[in-house]
Amino acid sequence: MYIGRDVDNISNVEKLDNITFDGSATYALEKSSVAYTPSGANNILISIDGVVQMGNFSVSTTNIVFDWSPTSSNTCDWILHIGVGLISTPADSSVTASKLGSLAVTGAKLNTDVISAQTELAVAPADADEFMVSDGGVLKRIDYSLIKASNTPAFLVTLGSQQTSISRSTQTKITYASEVIDSDNAFDSTTNYRFTVPAGEDGKYMFIVSASAEMPSYDPQAIMTSLYVNGSQVAFHQYFANEADFQNDQPNQVPLVTIQDLSASDYVEGFINFYQGSGGTGQIEDDNGTFFQGFKLIG
């Protein structure tokens, strides 16, 4: 036995006025004598002579159309119209997280004000500020420090003092011994005069090797600066000297610019070669033309 309010009082289930049959096939649907438009034939439950009808009628606007013609001897017991279902509005703040299905909140359900309605951060984020990222389809949080644009590791070193007695025709390491910038403490300016790629800093690097070089004699054929990676020459810039260089006792700046794709623990050095020449040794001035710099490219 059902104990509770009548079905016609349950929200979305409506009881329509009974029909008096007269031999016609089509009858108007009304609720409280007002024309009623059903959602469809499947939303209508109608009992005639104690038998619930099924599949033998259709609806058209506010009418029900039988496949047969009920007569005045037939009795309409009741007509119910079933709506889309019972609607129950949850109380404010009553829907808990566990009531939501996994992955139930899709992007389409989000309003753009999840961003636009928030307080603007009008300065660069702090390193520990976090972003959300899909890591292979798994949502994760990541610190800003790990994704912010940065050209580090970076270094700039100079000679510190004149490098003299450089042998001719010999690839001689330039002893950059004075650090101006060394963002990751990756430049050895005391023993091997080299930059070593720190762990986790694989990538493409730009380097500039420059030396303010003076000829060892009247006729060196060339001055060459080189970049070595792991002990091997990977790039060079060669300057062919002329007699005026020597006559004027002027150093020549021989800059080399190159990009290298490096991995952690790779080491990079600058070399110079006073090629040939007939006497004396070469030297590098400790001036603004002598420096070695490098930095990791973004991206």
Binding site: S165, I166, S167, R168, S169, T170, Q171, T172, K173, I174, T175, A177, T190, T191, N192, Y193, S217, Y218, D219, M224, E243, A244, F246, Q247, F271, N273, Y275, Q276, S278, G279, G280, T281
Partner: protein
């Protein structure tokens, strides 16, 4: 002390391509120069330290003379300067000047 490249040229008794045939390197570890043969790409057998040391005196003489030549060239001036000297002072004065430079800078 003579340079390694000079001794190698004397050892081979010919000009050497030090960018290809023989590669010399100086790693300057802790700022100390110590040139060495990194690559030896010629047919001749690579010299020993003793063989190179034996060429020290000869190499020093060659380098000193080369330095004398370099000093002379510097004092001769550029080609343009020499031509200008001739135009302004005549050929005889030019020859005398050049000869004096040679006298002042004798070879060993």
């Amino acid at each position: 002390m003579a340079q390694l490249s000079t001794k190698i040229k004397l050892y081979l008794d010919r000009e050497v391509n030090f960018n290809k045939d023989v590669i010399l390197q100086d790693d300057m570890i802790s700022g100390v120069s110590n040139p060495y043969i990194k690559e030896w790409n010629v047919e001749e057998v690579q010299p020993t330290e003793e063989q190179l040391d034996a060429l020290e005196s000869q190499a020093e003489t060659l380098e000193n003379n080369n330095q004398v030549i370099a000093t002379r060239k510097k004092e001769y001036g550029t080609t343009a300067e020499q031509l200008e000297y001739i135009v302004e002072n005549g050929v005889s004065a030019f020859i005398e000047k050049q000869q004096q430079i040679k006298t002042d800078n004798p070879k060993e």
